[in-house]
């Protein structure tokens, strides 16, 4: 251990404190939480988790969220790959303007665009489907995916493309068997970011769904009932929302560490 590793350790401790608090709370009864401060659960209970895993309106929230996040990630990466290739390899009419325009789509205040989104997706009869949320999240995920992938592709020398074409590879075959594998770290990083931003976004997801595709974050609002907040249940539900993200990031951890190193050289 070097002396300088003290900084990341302090930072990680700072990050973990609220998360610890949330997890600890999820094992407490709501009464214990409200009755006063305690660092550890005094009466350890799994009841909050039991409620979530046995009540369909709770666990379907997780399934819905995972469904639209997965669809969104697949769509975003699939359309961003060719676009990023075009931006990284070719000059064409309006390419720079188009690239910046893509960026601007992250800036629209979602809060007020929520109502037009609702009208739009109702008009095309996609309201309350997983596809609606997945497509809506493309608004901010595709620009980011194009941006990240373009960076990684820029790091691959153009000679690779030329050599492959000289060797007689058709473009689709070159793209699928040589090019994508050589930027797979970039694909991992882009997919991770798409997953992340779609998983955490709530406003659009909530606006575009009612019952059938309701995301978990919206389900959580029902912990606030006339009887007051069910804090234990809220904490357990919150804790469970961290887990899919943690699993995804554990799988892409090597891509993130190595992958970032390859891109942006």
């Amino acid at each position: 251990m070097q002396k300088r590793s003290i900084v990341p350790i302090i930072y990680i401790l700072f990050l973990m404190l609220p998360i610890y608090w949330l997890v600890a709370m999820s094992f407490k009864t709501t009464n214990e939480i409200l009755s006063g401060f305690s660092l550890f659960p005094q009466t350890f209970t799994l009841e909050n988790y039991a409620t979530i895993f046995t009540d369909p309106s709770w666990y379907w929230g997780y399934i819905n969220s995972i469904a639209y996040v997965s669809i969104n990630t697949v769509i975003s990466i699939a359309v961003a790959l060719p676009a990023a290739y075009a931006f990284s390899r070719y000059r064409f009419l309006g390419d720079k303007q188009l690239f910046f325009w893509l960026l601007t789509n992250r800036m629209a205040p979602a809060a007020v665009f929520a109502l037009p989104f609702f009208q739009l997706y109702s008009a095309v009869e996609l309201f309350d489907t997983h596809l609606a949320v997945a497509l809506a999240h493309c608004l901010f995920n595709i620009p980011l995916a194009v941006w990240i992938l373009e960076g990684f592709m820029g790091g691959i020398p153009k000679e690779l493309d030329e050599t492959a074409f000289v060797d007689g590879y058709s473009f689709p075959r070159f793209f699928a068997t040589i090019f994508i594998p050589s930027i797979k770290a970039g694909v991992g990083v882009a997919a991770f970011f798409c997953f992340m931003f779609s998983w955490v976004e709530l406003l659009l997801a909530k606006t575009l769904t009612a019952v059938a595709a309701k995301p978990i974050a919206a389900t959580m609002t029902k912990t606030a009932s006339s009887a007051g907040y069910e804090l234990g249940l809220l904490a357990a539900a919150g804790t469970l929302t961290i887990i899919p993200g943690a699993i995804v990031i554990w799988f892409v951890r090597n891509y993130i560490a190595k992958g970032f190193a390859m891109g942006r050289v």
Binding site: L15, V112, L120, V200, W250, A257, V265
Partner: protein, 287 residues
């Protein structure tokens, strides 16, 4: 060097179609609302640019915009240097790298309303870990529902907690892409740590830092869910950021016209500032 190829447009078409569907149609709806008045029942009256004038002259808008700029300014001056400093002190090789990265990325993976809710409980004076510690152990009178300063400290701390890792991850990516040869050359020349940072590390991080700063600007300028869940804009109006005010007008009072005009002004400001950042940070690349 890039080759000129107009057929590359076909590669961009799917992206264009998807983003345009999501961006242009709602945008047109908002523009439409912004120049009309409605009294319900889908009857609209042409209003011209009245809403824009009304918003631009209102003190409420100026106050919310001021708070928004203040918030974003604080976020950028805290998170960017802090993120770079943490990335610099992270290990470069070995088992600890993925562990650090995974732990640091965790806050970003928590849904935004959960972030707001957990910080809300975390800071409650009598039952929250932070609130209890500050009030009962250190004896500081801290209650963000009463004191505007405490509320500001809380939303800024929450955002630092939530998003500094984004800057760390991106800066770290830039740092590990620097070949060892650069450091060896610097060592032979006897360069100080500062010189290494200034002339090797910082220029190499420039591209990723551009992304980090732009993302942090755009996202903190449009932030809604977390501060809304945390403080609801209070106490009083002290943490009512622009987006919170916008939703209050649009959904709370159902004033679609003013809300639409306001969101277009908001969008224009975001666009202008992002364009300035983007141009300033990429202008060297054009030469």
């Amino acid at each position: 060097m890039k080759t000129e190829n107009q057929k590359a447009w076909f590669f961009v078409l799917p992206v264009l179609a998807l983003v345009a569907f999501n961006a242009l149609i709602p945008m047109m709806t908002v523009v439409n609302y912004s120049v009309q008045e409605t009294f319900g029942d889908n009857v609209f009256f042409w209003q011209g640019l009245d809403w824009f004038q009304q918003i631009l002259r209102s003190d409420r808008f100026h106050a919310a915009l001021g708070r928004q700029f203040m918030f974003t300014f604080l976020i950028l001056i805290i998170e960017v240097p802090l993120g770079i400093a943490i990335a610099l002190s992270m290990p470069r090789k070995g088992f600890w790298v993925p562990v650090c990265l995974v732990l640091m990325a965790l806050p970003m993976l928590i849904p935004w309303n959960v972030v707001g809710a957990m910080w809300n409980i975390f800071t409650l004076p009598d039952i929250g870990l932070l609130g209890y510690f500050l009030n009962h152990t250190l004896g500081i009178n801290y209650d963000m529902t009463q004191d505007p300063v405490a509320a500001w400290v809380t939303i800024v701390t929450m955002d630092v907690w939530h998003w500094t890792s984004l800057v760390v991850l991106l800066s770290y990516a830039g740092l590990v892409s620097i070949p060892d040869a650069y450091y060896q050359a610097a060592k032979i020349d006897g360069a100080s740590n500062w010189a290494v940072f200034r002339f090797i590390q910082l220029p190499k991080m420039k591209t990723v830092l551009t992304i980090a700063i732009l993302l942090r600007f755009m996202d903190s300028f449009n932030i809604y869910t977390e501060p809304f869940v945390l403080t609801g804009g209070g106490p009083g109006n002290s943490t009512t950021l622009l987006s919170i005010d916008l939703v209050k007008i649009a959904l709370g009072q159902f004033d679609l016209g003013p809300a639409a005009a306001m969101s277009l002004i908001y969008f224009a400001i975001t666009l202008l500032v992002s364009w300035l950042f983007y141009t300033l940070m990429t202008k060297d690349d054009l030469n």
